[in-house]
Amino acid sequence: MLAGHFAAAGAIAARDSSASLTVMAKPDSTDGNRMADEPEINLNLKTWDEVKTTTCYMCACRCGIKVYLKDGTVKYIEGNRDHPVNKGVLCGKGSAGIMQHYSPARLTKPLMRVGPRGSGEFREVEWEEALRTATTWLSQVRMSDPRKLALFTGRDQSQALTGWWATQFGTPNFAAHGGFCSVNMAAAGIYTFGGAFWEFGEPDWDHTKYFMLFGVAEDHASNPIKMGLGKLKKNGAKIVSINPVKSGYSAIADEWVGIRPGTDGLFVGALIHQLLKAGKIDLDYLARYTNAAHLVIRNKSGADDGLIARDRTGKVLVLDSASGRPVAMDKAAKPALHGEVKLPGKPARTAVPAFQLIAERYLSDEYTADKAAANCGIKAETIVRLAGELAHAAFEQAFELPIAWTDSRGEKHKSMTGRPVSMHAMRGISAHSNGFHTCRSIHILQILLGTIDVPGGFLYKPPFPKAAPPGLKPAGKVGEVNPLKPLPGPPLGFVAGPEDLLVDADGTPRRIDKAYSWDAPIAAHGLMHTVITNAANKDPYGIDVLFMYMANMSWNSTMNSGGIMDHLTKIDEKTGDYVIPKIIYSDAYYSEMVAYADLILPDTTYLERWDCISLLDRPISEPHGPADSIRQPVVEPDRDVRPFQTVMLDLGARLGLPGMVKEDMTPKFPGGYADYIVNHERGPGIGPLAGFRGADGTKSGKGEVNPNQLEQYIENGCYWKYELPEHMRYYRMANKDYLEWAQGFGFNPNANPVTFNLYSEVMQKFRLAARGHGDVVPPQVHRRRVEAFFDPVPMWYAPFEEAMTDATDFPMHAVTQRPMAMYHSWGSMNAWLRQILGRNWLYMERGRAKKLGLRDGDWVHVTSHHGRIKVQLKLMDGVNPDTVWTWNAIGKRSGAWNLDRNAPEAKKGFLLNHIISDLLPVRDGGYRYSNSDPVTGQAAWYDLRVRVEKADGAAISEPQYEATKRPPGLLRAAMKIGERMMKGRGQ
């Protein structure tokens, strides 16, 4: 399998076989043999004249790197040993960064479109003309209706800036790529325990003895996970991987569980069923840190049904076991976790502890091992055994760390109890329409075992934990979007009930992506994947300017790529202009999206820019303390390009956006992004960087602006980290000293403990609205769906596409995995990475192929309810038999990325995206929901169902699109690479 890796080796072998055997040398020693005189070689080679530190940017890990330079040329990149993220190691992509930097696909100058959209015909313009054009377009929008700007920034690592920019501009239509990445999981985590997987937390690698990975295909977080796996192996821990495909991390797991896609929630529910049934749960942990004991009101058809019972002062009520009465939480000696109790007052209502509802759900027949086994494709006895292994590790291998600490109630503890079970999950969970609930179930499993933020368990990374959910609400309500006015708050936040939604009085979404509407109420990261379709359909309204950054939305970053290209080129019959009239795009490379924009603002590579990896954005913290970092330009651009963030600040100043101009309307940050990083304050003493604050750089967290901050970061290796003292490293949801420190450091508005929501009252509030209660209720068309999917107790349901299509027509699942050497970086412009993986295949289980009469190397049609592609097949064993898969984002459009038009990426490679519909089939009164999770709007990539049939004809993948033209400024790619390297050789 993984046959991509063989391609280049095969080519080399073929070349070797042409070896000439005729050249022989004369013997020159007495025994007839030539004795090699060992030549003098330079053991102290120095091919560099300086080494600079900065931060990698080829995925979301953001590893520290050391860049070796000679006369301003990049010679070598290695991991920075001191850096908290990667501690010296560097992955396959990061080590190929030199080829990312020197790729001939780099854009070289601003471009204005001259041909039709999609053609790639541009003329070069000067920056002044480009910026003036953008300013004119944007100021027209801002003066009339700021919503008509949709700013979506893809794999942006500067969302603290771009989100603020959107706020100051006044448009709520802002988000980055979270909506098509993993927002359902992020939301499930943050609403359940005030944290999440990936950069928001990680396993306690040093103490874990049992590690369960769900749907992680060699991605997120790349190097930290690899280092962690190495550590677990060394420590003898067991690694279990739940994944339909056995590649990458699954390949080295001690146990691979080849689950059927989309059934993880059922599998996890079955594990919980087993644990509950056997009483293998941490009752003390549940009572202390969760809402297990909180009383949930039973008042069928009442407006308070399912809400948490509170007394007049707002204190949560629990059932006091001793008295059998409902009393305020802090008054109960022993709160019950089971039992129905009458609540005082009228009308007559009863209540039960939240935990009772959780237990009833998971103990129901739906979650028996037999029931799950049939659906998940996993043997029932395996499920039972895995549950037993989890219980053994959590309870029979529990341990104490002799570290005294104090909890939020003031109770002093002599030690910290460790439970060495940790978990990690990613796209195999998030890319399904049931991902929110599945991820909630995973967190509930972790919590029942008592393993969140305990030694050996899953640990928060500061600034987490935060309140579940945090208090920050999305702005953009009626009355909050006005010409020439900023929004009153940021466009992204956390809704706590229907009253926080961004909908008009009639329920129409206020945002172009329909985030925070009844389509996707808890859309914490926005829904970038719906923007183009909605804008083209003017649903809910049309826009004037689409402004995107670093997001390949006409190709691999979208569902229905062909349909999206149609949307981007759709003509408004009334005006004769495009329905999306103006598109501005910023990218460093000639990606497929470039050809669809009207104005291109060329970005720098990651080695040519300032950046800040801010705690206000996605942090790089470690569990044992917060951290942040910078990028510094280690080389100057050799092209007429500018860093996107500096361009945004320039545009902001030209538009006169508040905070970006001084009182006299001159630019506030004339020094560009670097100037902003140092001098911008979000609140008093809080800026983009938390380190080296204060006039002399001695303060951390909060402190005055330090004019030498960047120099101090550079001196420190371009990062800053803060080590928490031992007693503040665990139990931080209720660790008094930590929570007080976090408040003082500016992470949280108060030092309140974080209560885990086994039962989600927020969800129930939406459900009540669907029953017609409250001021903000969904339109009729949405009510059934909201009622069904806003269950306050996690559940499992079949993914939508599976439920809505015929299993005989489309009997198989189709998913993608992330190639480690390409993940998040779309590395086809990288001369080395494309030799490792220059095309992809469709992989199918050997036995299934036999049944279908298919053979290794066959060309096949893969058909979904939405479309058909033609691809080449490879057979393997390590894949769930009901599943076919391929590597993500390897297929390229001919002409893009400045590759040869006949590049294997274009002619043999392919995308599944073409057959993934961006909308679900029509239902309920003709409405088409986005192909997304109904709670959060997360794109349901892996819900895809297909059939696979043998195809005839040419050995070329389909669809093929007309090749885009090479824009001006891009050089014809090199015929070979070698001399430049040779030049720097410091012999």
Partner: protein, 251 residues
């Protein structure tokens, strides 16, 4: 033909790699870090031909292959990094007509002298491991140098004086050291983990060792599991039994 140095004396240094197949996830970090160091180091350049065209190929000193291997429960996906094993009796050296291929007496590293290599490729035919790569553009044979220009390099920090692949490896699957010294960390690792030679029957005595994947720990090798017996009173539904246990546990 070329002679080998006498490396039979006790205490002879045998520098090499130990590669842990139990831990390698196939991420390619060792391949690209090798390429980036060596394309500007001793082996410079490692030419890439047609790098952005329909058939991109280049010289690499380290390649990672993926296989499926084994039967039944132990059927596994394996990632196998392949590079020169710096054999004790390497045929690639003895076959060399010009003396360009040689084994260093001091540490056993097998190198090619680009100044005397005539590109005849006999060595790549002789090597059963496919560890040599001919750089058609440069006209000479290239191979793993064990980063000979790093491991003694006084321009590097002492802890960085190791092959680029070992320095980069994110899972810690690659180890570098003296396999001639039975007490070295790498020798001890080989001993404790049952490290093995590739194709020992060829008798080239590879210095590099591979560590085998540990047995899977599913059914027959499972780790200890708690007994999951249904708790609570003897009758009633599973839910009722659980609540009876819960009430008791909390009373």
């Amino acid at each position: 033909m070329t002679s080998l140095p006498d490396t039979s004396r006790p205490g002879q240094k045998k520098l090499g790699l130990v590669i842990d197949l139990d831990t390698c996830v196939g991420c390619q970090a060792c391949a690209t870090s090798c390429k980036e160091w060596n394309t500007q180091g001793y082996s410079a350049p490692l030419t890439d031909i047609d790098p952005y065209g329909p058939d991109p190929v280049g010289a690499w000193l380290n390649r990672i292959h993926g296989y499926e291997t084994g039967e039944g429960e132990n059927r596994r996906a394996l990632h196998f990094p392949r590079s020169c094993l710096h054999c004790e009796t390497p045929a690639c050296v003895t076959v060399c007509p010009t003396g360009a291929s040689y084994k260093r007496a001091e540490d056993g590293i097998v190198l090619v002298n680009p100044d005397t290599c005539i590109g005849c490729k006999l060595c790549s035919w002789a090597c059963p491991y496919g560890a040599r790569e001919y750089d058609a553009d440069d006209g000479v044979m290239k191979k793993c140098t064990l980063c000979v220009d790093r491991i003694y390099n006084e321009n590097l920090e002492p802890e960085d004086r190791q092959p680029a692949c070992v320095r980069a490896c994110p899972t810690g699957a690659r180890h570098f050291g003296d396999l001639g010294d039975p007490d070295s960390d790498v020798s001890q690792l080989v001993k404790s983990r049952g490290g093995f030679d590739l194709l020992p029957q060829m008798d080239y005595k590879p210095v590099n060792k591979y560590l085998p994947p540990r047995p899977r720990r599913s059914d027959e090798n499972a780790v200890p599991a708690a007994k999951l017996e249904t708790v609570g009173k003897a009758d009633g539904s599973v839910t009722e039994r659980f609540f009876s246990w819960l009430d008791k546990a909390l009373s």
